[in-house]
């Protein structure tokens, strides 16, 4: 069984929501990525989203763009990202890892070769930001053949019939983009997001993660009341960048712990989805 499925099953049984921090592989330094991953797990992360740096991250805001540039500047690549996952796996066999990135580096490696290498490294899911399901057949098939989940985005603009088609192509969970914008945007309208998540839930049994625009304990707690997973990217990447390499691990641990505490105190059981 894929680690993502197992993890959501356990969380559901416990009535808990998943906390999913995002970090860009190799930022601020390749040597810090594995310690950062272990630190966020110790602080309460349930899944990890690991960004694969790309030279042209079109869907990302300035914070993650800068992280990509820092990582690429230190020699990070898709192959080295997979090496980091393999090193993380040496000490953590349970926490699911979802790669998040863009299609071109994967195509450059080849879909089959990538799926094989990702499975070997211990990756559990792959979210390819610029690959809608219409264009995702080859990669999706290669991933599924290795037991990996293709994870897809849903957006505020996605029409109802399309939600169904995307969920049919997706595995593990679906990622609802909470706002029209790039990663790290402002203006999260929690009530509107809650309504959209409820509408998505009528179309799929997959767990629903919500990301883009969640930056602190308060917003994480509000989203935890209706989503199965709360994804925090730019806020964490910014905290790590501001802390500097010496204090990056401690800074990441502190933010994730704050998010965890806020989420766990957020909703009484009755408010949360029964499962």
């Amino acid at each position: 069984m894929n680690r993502i499925d197992r993890r959501f099953e356990t969380l559901r049984a416990a009535g808990r929501r998943a906390l999913v921090p995002y970090l860009t592989a190799g930022d601020p330094d390749p040597a810090l990525t594995v310690p950062l991953l272990h630190a966020v797990v110790e602080a309460g992360a349930d899944l990890i989203e690991l960004g694969v740096p790309f030279s042209d991250p079109m869907a990302d805001g300035p914070v993650i763009q800068a992280a990509c540039e820092r990582a690429l500047g230190r020699g990070m690549s898709l192959r080295r990202t997979l090496e980091l996952v393999a090193r993380f796996r040496e000490d953590d066999a349970a926490t699911p890892v979802v790669l998040m990135g863009y299609l071109n580096p994967i195509e450059a490696m080849g879909c089959e070769a990538f799926a094989a290498a990702a499975a070997e490294a211990g990756v559990d899911g792959v979210l390819t930001v610029d690959m809608p399901p219409e264009e995702g057949e080859a990669l999706g098939a290669a991933l599924r053949a290795r037991g990996l989940h293709p994870v897809y985005l849903l957006a505020p603009t996605t029409p109802s019939d399309r939600i169904r088609r995307i969920c049919d192509a997706a595995g593990g969970f679906v990622y609802y983009v909470s706002l029209k914008g790039v990663t790290g945007s402002d203006a999260l309208d929690t009530e509107a997001v809650a309504r959209r998540v409820a509408a998505i839930r009528r179309q799929t049994t997959l767990p629903i993660g919500v990301g883009f625009g969640i930056r602190d304990g308060a917003s994480a707690a509000r989203v935890a009341c209706f989503a199965d997973a709360v994804i925090v990217g730019s806020a964490l990447v910014r905290r790590v960048a501001e802390a500097g390499p010496q204090r990056a691990v401690a800074a990441a641990r502190a933010l994730v712990a704050e998010l965890r505490a806020a989420m766990d105190g957020a909703c009484v059981q009755g408010e949360a989805r029964a499962g």
């Binding site: 030279s55 991250p57 690549s77 192959r79 985005l153 505020p156 603009t157 029209k180």
Partner: protein
């Protein structure tokens, strides 16, 4: 005379298909938020394309605002000097704003207004597309934001000021290589954030479906006119068409109406920069390999890890690591051939045409002229060549002067 719906040449195979594919190229590779807006754009475009009122408005604008048809000029003295084929120049440099870019922005801006959008955005490299967008935005009273790489803002200062005079906001892009590809990234980020009121006017035949098809259709007026004009002037079709290729919109506009004329050779000319062998160039069709960037699958300049490489060309309009997907398909199908000429060769052609014909060509177009010089000698006196003179060179005089050590 309706502008657009000439029958699509059979050689094009009715491409792209419903999902925007030209063979294995093209498609729609964007984040989910943009999928529905692209679907809405495709629907609107296809509907207005069949609307006689839209087409006659477009025709009127092309005639009275853009200044079409543009002349097909026999460069007699230059042809004679080269001692080979007769060379005709399709004078897109004589359009309003001085480049072919306006053919497309007039069309997309009309569409934007019909879709009820109040704000347009654009990316620009040399600044010609930015100026052409700012121009039509001013005329239609649309708010306009143009994204331009910081490097290009510096080397195309006159166009930046022109855009500002026209009321556009020019945003310098400081990420990545700070050139055209990064401006495109930033425009996509703007669009995803303001998708309700904003129309993204892409300047070339790249991007997600329907842009490669839509921009091509708006630019095909070049080839339709040229085909009619050369038949009038010479009583026969040319042996070869030559056009420069950055993203490839002026080239596809010239080529497309000739696709079925198999006897007409199609030559796309990329920027070889300091030479293909140096790695410092902008020639993805000549020296790149297929990949996915900016919403479509096409030939790209990329490293082994799939990271996009920086490009180098004296011409800002060719300084782009990708190319329109239809060109990728035309290359693979063998219908068109793609070559590259260096900065040096382009400059030589720039001076040659300027001195013999009194026409100052854009550095982009000078790449096509350089290849035409070579081709004219090969074809000999019986040969007949049409070159797309896609823009005028006034914007480039600073670049040329600097190159020759002259401070203006």
């Amino acid at each position: 005379m309706a502008s657009i719906p000439d029958p699509v040449p059979a050689a094009a195979g009715g491409l792209p298909d419903a999902r925007g594919h030209f063979g294995r190229f093209g498609g729609r590779f964007v984040a989910e938020t943009l999928m529905a807006p692209l679907e809405a754009l495709t629907e609107a475009y296809e509907r207005h394309l069949r609307d006689p009122a839209f087409l006659s408005e477009l025709d009127r604008d092309l005639a009275h605002y853009v200044g079409r048809p543009t002349p097909l000029y026999h460069a007699e003295r230059w042809s004679r000097r080269l001692g080979g084929a007769r060379i005709y120049l399709k004078r897109e440099d004589l359009t309003h704003t001085g480049a072919h870019k306006i053919n497309n922005t007039v069309g997309q801006a009309l569409l934007a207004r019909r879709m009820g959008k109040t704000r347009v955005i654009a990316e620009t490299g040399a600044g010609q597309h930015g100026v052409a967008t700012a121009t039509v935005a001013a005329r239609l009273g649309l708010r306009c934001v143009v994204y331009m790489g910081e490097v290009d803002v510096e080397r195309q200062a006159i166009n930046v000021y022109r855009m500002r005079l026209l009321g556009a906001e020019v945003v310098p892009v400081r990420s990545g290589s700070r050139t055209l590809k990064d401006a495109l990234n930033e425009a996509l980020r703007d669009w995803v954030t303001h998708v309700d009121d904003t129309f993204y006017i892409i300047g070339t035949v790249a991007g997600p479906h329907p842009y490669p098809a839509m921009v091509r259709d708006f630019q095909c007026v070049i080839g339709r006119e040229a085909r009619r004009q050369i038949l009038e002037a010479e009583g026969r079709l040319p042996d070869a068409l030559v056009a420069c290729v950055g993203g490839g919109s002026n080239a596809i506009g010239l080529f497309h109406p000739f696709l079925d004329d198999r006897e007409v050779a199609l030559w796309g000319v990329e920027g070889a920069g300091e030479g293909i062998g140096t790695g410092r160039h902008a020639a993805p069709l000549s020296a790149g390999r297929p990949g996915v960037l900016h919403g479509n699958r096409t030939y790209l300049m990329q490293d082994a890890d799939g990271q996009i490489l920086e490009t180098h060309s004296i011409s800002a309009g060719l300084d782009y690591p990708g190319v329109g997907p239809e060109h990728a398909w035309l290359k693979e199908s063998g219908r068109a051939r793609y070559v590259a000429v260096t900065d040096e060769e382009a400059l030589e052609a720039f001076h040659d045409l300027t001195r013999t014909e009194g026409i100052l060509p854009a550095l982009e177009s000078s790449h096509a002229l350089a290849w035409a010089m070579r081709l004219a000698r090969e074809l000999g006196p019986d040969g007949l060549i049409v070159v797309n003179l896609s823009g005028r060179g006034d914007k480039d005089v600073h670049t040329v002067a600097r190159r020759e050590g002259i401070t203006l």
